[in-house]
Symmetry: C2
Subunit: 285 residues, 2 copies
């Protein structure tokens, strides 16, 4: 009977526990999380079988899933390098950036430990174990980075999550980090900046944010996400985010130039182009 | 039996027709729209009683609701000034900017015509009569600009939409335009720019926008909205949008400075501040 260690029992970690417990009750799940309340919540709901510290649990596990913020994942990879793990363990993570993680994991791979980077493209503006769901990954893209030395073991891991109809997508760490930079990290910075700008500009306006309708709410929803997780992402994909911000600013400057010039046809062209691209996102799914 | 003229039978106009037809079948609704297919759709669904040109219908109406893009509303106010309207008609509009509209409507007000500016804070990324709904305004803020000479008539208009539990909010045209600039126009420009940036940056990346998850989709949803309507908004609230864009760029530059410096605590502070503000938007409702 295999043992799964899930380290980090927040939105993603607790969702993985829910998926496994729903369809594979024969497995033992050890949960590891520094937060007592979080761990107790998972114990109370029988989503984990027991709680243990990371260093205690790792040597017992057949699957180790690192589901903390990127900064914690990096630390834990360093810890794993000092432990005596099972010879056929699969170590994987769910971090939102992959290049720094794969570089750090190299010490495991060189020691013949089976490490595969992973990143499910699923999330929420709500963080924490209470908001996890066994349906969070349904139909999502799940990026897989690196070569496994044991295909059977990776297939077993994928089997654990099979009910979610995940689209498993192999990708290089650099392609991954560029893609999520555009589709996730840049939008996050922009949504955050939008909120801070609106709050400052509407200071003293009694109605203020209260009058916000669906447009503002949708556009800024992700700004409510966990700042700790997102700070770690910013610190680990810094150069790409920086570059995207510069690109974004250039596009914005072009629009502002057309606006200042009251150039109706350029403004309309800009809006039309975005509309066509944005509509294609929904149509493809 | 009162007659209502709705000019512009898109998302908002057709939603108003739906609301009135649901609760006030005794009224006659004349629909006016340049698009044959749109008008036929409303006739087929008995959401309007007949279709007439704007100039023919306006002199017959007790309520005239201007529900086209801002550019069309401005033209139609000029047309109304040349027509002989009923003496106690209420003319109102649903345009997303109010200052240029109130200035143009001054010629009506000076001729003793009862004009009230209006703006329901409800919309969708989907445009057109097919996506209208009798529930579109439910619990929304509906801004009211200007003084009516006939309070009873305004109350009657509000009564027509009473099922929606609208929050009627009197406001000056300049406060209105500043508020919607921050809560609607700026987010629209930003969402649009985000899509155009991502498309350009991901050119040649086979996965591209297809891998987009909820964060990107939410943040850019409004970029799919009608470019004609939004171009008119940009042309009518130009100076404020321009100023907000400059403010936004300054906030973004501050973030980028912290990012470049790998200044973790400033990054986290920026994200935390946005989170607190964004969470308050949902909690207030």
């Amino acid at each position: 009977m295999a043992t799964v260690l899930i380290s980090g029992l927040g939105l993603i970690g607790s969702s993985i526990a829910r998926m496994i417990k729903q369809d594979h009750r024969e497995l033992t799940i050890i949960g590891s999380d520094p937060d007592d309340e979080t761990a107790q919540f998972l114990l109370n709901h029988q989503l984990i079988d027991r709680r243990q510290t990371f260093s205690e649990a790792a040597p017992l596990a057949d699957f180790i899933i690192l589901a903390g913020p990127v900064s914690v994942i990096l630390e834990q990879i360093n810890v794993l390098a000092t432990l005596s793990l099972k010879s056929d363990v699969l170590v994987t993570d769910v971090g939102s950036t992959k290049e720094t993680i794969m570089k750090t994991a190299n010490q495991l791979i060189q020691n013949d430990i089976n490490f595969i980077g992973g990143h499910p493209m699923a999330g929420s503006d709500r963080s924490g174990s209470r908001f996890g769901s066994s349906e969070l990954f349904n139909n999502a893209t799940y990026f897989i980075v690196g070569q496994t030395k044991n295909n059977r073991k990776l297939a077993q891991f994928q089997q654990l999550l099979s009910k979610a109809a995940i689209h498993w997508q192999p990708i290089s760490s650099s392609s991954h980090d560029q893609l999520v930079c555009e589709l996730s990290h840049l939008p996050h910075v922009i949504a955050t900046t939008l909120v801070n700008t609106a709050v400052d500009d509407l200071e003293g306006e009694p109605l203020g944010l209260r009058a916000a309708a669906g447009g503002f709410k949708d556009t800024t929803r992700i700004a409510a996400a966990d700042p700790t997780m997102w700070t770690a992402i910013m610190m680990n994909n810094t150069d790409r985010i920086n570059q995207s911000l510069t690109q974004f600013q250039q596009h914005l400057a072009q629009f502002q130039k057309a606006l200042t010039a009251h150039d109706e046809s350029t403004i309309k062209q800009f809006l039309k182009r975005a509309r066509t691209s944005r509509k294609s996102v929904d149509e493809r799914k």
